[in-house]
Amino acid sequence: MEAVKALFERLDKVPEEVNVNAVFGTPETIDGLTLIPVAEIMYGFGAGVGSGPSNECDEASADADAAEGEAAIGAGGGAGAKARPIAYIAVGPEGARVQPIMDEQKVALAGILLGFWAIGWVGLVLKTLFTRRS
């Protein structure tokens, strides 16, 4: 149990040690133009622990186990990370400019969903307007 608590304390410190420099990539110079990739980074992790009597069927032995410090312990955790390019910075002789990068697939999917949503609502409105009450 102490090892699990130590692990949690270690995990809790990770956000404080986040390296914000990971957002900006290594500059690359091509034909006198320096390009710096810029990304959005997301990550998360979680862990949990629980304990209980080693034998739930027999309360007497469970109490005895708890008294002897033999309670069962279960723990689990998971983590994930995602990085997505959102722009690049181009630095040339005339100056620096930011060129955004659009996620076309996501925008197209959202546009299709919005189209269906609009068609559904317009259909509902037309049905309400042109349906005569009996």
Partner: protein, 104 residues
């Protein structure tokens, strides 16, 4: 029940030297965390580039780094909400005007 704690900070990243120019980037750090040593813990961190300041020998320029995809999706979500609101109002008005009145 303990609620997650959210912190939003603007952090300056290391300067990037490009020729005679010096780029000073800044990053928006959004942290969502719940810490319970006895039960468990979770942390979610989002690092989003905010802007850069381009310093030359004689001048400095501030450039925002836009998240185009997120802006478009937000606009679409607002449009969807607007369509639903206007349609609901039209339907409600239609039902109100066509409803049989008392005493008729």
């Amino acid at each position: 029940m303990k609620l997650p704690e959210q912190r939003i900070r603007l952090v300056a990243a290391d300067p990037i030297e490009v020729g005679t120019r010096r780029l000073l980037p800044s990053v928006l750090v959004n942290t969502l965390s719940l810490q319970s040593p006895d039960k468990g813990t979770f942390n979610f961190v989002r690092l989003r580039p905010a802007s850069i300041v381009v310093e030359c020998e004689s001048s400095a320029e501030w450039i925002e780094i836009p998240n185009t995809t997120e802006n478009i999706l937000s606009t679409m979500a607002a449009a969807a909400a607007g369509i639903a609101l206007v349609s609901s109002l039209i339907i409600a008005a239609s039902l109100f005007l066509n409803s049989p009145r008392k005493g008729r």
